[in-house]
């Protein structure tokens, strides 16, 4: 028996944090204009000793104003989507649950677009609209997925797919009829894109929201381990199931909303990353949540770097990269798990 220890938890997260750091360096280095690692380390050292004003202007522009904000956004979005996916999987007791597959990302996108139409000048309204859209969608899909009072995993997934398809049509409709407004592009909402940095007023709000969402889900990590074995069982083992479900529903929707309003609907991250983490480190939620946050950051930073460099100087939407990796995994899991 190898129960989870604090030591294993800390070491695993430390190693993943180092891998993330390496990915950040790689992402800073790679791009249409390649930059050598030596230069990068040298200039980062300059910044560390407070000599950032001595950096060459083009260098400062490419690395610190273009690539770094984009990488930081990727970290935020990847962590949010992965933890939301892990949360939905436990809550719905469905290994295939993911914010994108369940239509929650599309719901958040519709909410964000409507908010952009209604109040284009108020930056905070966009993530709020996305949050309302996400909560409404997961509630609808949850009720669509119930049969005879029980949650049926195949019906739930179908409900999600149908919701996503319907909401995509709503996005098309809104974008086509209101195309003259500044609603960002269609690929942004449908496939996800990290090239638009967060408005400076929202950066702190997003970071705090992300940490609060992940933190709130983490307070239920031990409960989720029992919830995945069955709701009745969890109740009899002392889990306050209603409270735990509420916390996870709200937090996972919040995380999805933050990610979508910042970067559009990037798919499959919430499916891909928690499964990779389970495969590597086991399915204990106390390790799975922080490891998924870090793993999600790694995955999205890498996917975006690929999206920027594969056909440079043209960029692909980052969601295309995650879908190429995620869709086959979805099919594999579907074939393996479903009778």
């Amino acid at each position: 028996m190898r129960p989870l220890t604090l030591r294993r938890l800390v070491w695993t997260c430390a190693i993943l944090a180092l891998v993330l750091l390496a990915c950040v360096v790689l992402a800073l280095k790679l791009g249409a204009v390649p930059i050598s690692v030596t230069d990068l380390v040298w200039n980062l050292g300059r910044i560390a000793i407070g000599q950032s004003d001595q950096l060459p202007t083009d260098y400062r522009l490419i690395v610190f104003e273009l690539r770094l904000p984009r990488i930081l956004l990727g970290i935020l979005v990847g962590a949010a989507l992965s933890v939301a996916g892990a949360g939905f999987q436990a809550l719905l007791r469905n290994p295939l649950a993911d914010p994108f597959v369940l239509g929650v990302s599309s719901g958040a996108a519709v909410g964000a677009i409507i908010a952009l139409i209604a109040a284009p000048s108020m930056v905070l309204v966009t993530p709020l609209g996305a949050f309302v859209g996400a909560i409404a969608t997961i509630t609808a899909v949850y009720y669509l997925g119930r049969r005879d009072g029980q949650l049926d995993s195949a019906t739930l997934l179908l409900g999600g797919v149908i919701a996503a398809s319907f909401l995509s049509a709503v996005i098309w409709f809104l974008m086509t009829t209101l195309a003259s407004r500044d609603l960002r592009g269609m690929p942004f909402w449908m496939m996800g894109d990290l090239s638009t940095p967060l408005p400076s007023g929202l950066r702190w709000i997003f970071t705090v929201g992300l940490l609060a969402g992940i933190g709130a889900i983490y307070t239920t990590a031990a409960d989720l381990n029992l919830l995945v074995t069955g709701e009745r069982e969890a109740i009899h083992l002392g889990v306050e199931v209603t409270r735990v479900k509420l916390v996870v529903y709200v937090s996972a929707s919040l995380l999805t909303a933050l990610a979508v309003s910042a970067s559009g609907a990037i798919g499959y991250v919430g499916l891909l990353v928690p499964h990779a983490v389970r495969w590597l480190f086991g399915s204990d939620y106390r390790l799975l949540i922080p490891a998924s946050a870090l793993g999600g950051a790694i995955a999205v930073v890498l996917a975006d770097t690929l999206a920027r460099t594969v056909v440079a100087p043209t960029e692909l939407p980052v969601g295309a990269m995650t879908a190429i990796a995620g869709a086959p995994l979805f099919i594999y899991l579907l074939r393996r798990r479903m009778p």
Binding site: M1, P3, T5, L6, A221, V228, T229, H236, G238, E240
Partner: protein, 292 residues
């Protein structure tokens, strides 16, 4: 009240449970319940007033055909639902008023098996029984691991510790699920149709094991079942339910009356008294050539 001699004479009487020397006592007094689809609407199922008492080292069988209210009564005892009238108390405290954590330290429930979506190893699964005792992240202490191992060992499953749950046979999984309940160190062990998917050999083995646990760990064991013959053999006390009404409570010898059982189970039955004073139930099938 009952004859324990036959089934306990070969067992050891140790005490590996956590509760102190005080005798444990379960009281169900005039308890009733009604399920309604929504507030204000008429109830779709009611469980009429039911009363019985049980002490530690006793095994109670809740017996009845489908939809007789067995699981409702079990849920009332477990405290996850509160009675509409009357009281359900464990050591003088209403089970439904206990906070979830305290309740899980005192009452363990074994359900019919739920499918596992991310199957852990048997050892990890049993460790979940220590959840009500942990703090915050509930990382397992050495004592928790020892208790989980002990629970598995007590059920003869020490060798299963590192096996994944999905690789276990039905009988082995049943043992691991029961071990998780043991790891909770409860004083009241509840089981909902535990014999449902087991073959007859495994059913007898399980019930013998439950009798042994009641004795060794000083549990009160309450089993919901519709296995008439097995309940007669193993229970100290039987609560007979039919269509939401409690028809009779007593020892198997007191409850097992042919006319009563035939009426409840709608089947022709024979009841005779066995050598240890326990009734034996057999199905009386009338073949066509018997009639002619």
């Amino acid at each position: 009240m009952s004859d324990r001699a036959t089934s306990t004479e070969t067992l050891h009487s140790g005490d590996s449970s956590s509760h102190s020397g005080r005798a444990v006592h379960l009281t169900v007094e005039q308890a009733s319940y009604a399920y309604s689809p929504g507030p204000g609407s008429a109830p779709t199922f009611t469980l009429g007033t039911t009363s019985f008492q049980a002490h530690e080292r006793e095994m109670v069988a809740i017996l009845g055909p489908n939809a007789s209210g067995k699981s409702t009564l079990l849920n009332l005892i477990s405290g996850t639902i509160a009675p509409l009238s009357g009281r359900v108390e464990l050591d003088g405290q209403a089970t439904s008023s206990l906070d979830p954590r305290t309740r899980a330290q005192r009452i363990a429930m074994v359900h019919q098996e739920s499918p596992l979506i991310f199957p852990p190893t048997a050892g990890e699964f049993v460790l979940q029984g220590r959840y009500p005792y942990g703090r915050a992240l509930r990382l397992a202490s050495e004592a928790d691991v020892a208790i989980a191992r002990g629970a598995l060992a007590q059920l003869g499953g020490a060798n299963l510790v590192n096996r994944p749950m999905k690789a276990l046979s039905g009988g082995e999984r049943q043992r691991v699920i029961l071990a998780r309940a043991l790891a909770q160190q409860p004083s009241l062990l509840l089981l909902d149709e535990p014999t449902l998917h087991l073959d007859i050999g495994a059913q007898i083995e399980l019930l013998e094991r439950l009798r042994q646990l009641a004795e060794e760990n000083r549990y009160i064991v309450v089993v919901v079942t519709h296995e008439l013959a097995l309940a007669a053999e193993f229970a100290n006390q039987v609560v007979l339910l039919h269509q939401g009404r409690c028809l009779r409570v007593g020892t198997p010898a007191e409850v097992y009356r042919r006319e009563l059982l035939e009426q409840v189970f709608e089947a022709p039955l024979e009841v005779e008294l066995g050598p240890a004073g326990r009734p034996r139930v057999t199905v009386r099938v009338r073949r066509r050539h018997d009639a002619t």
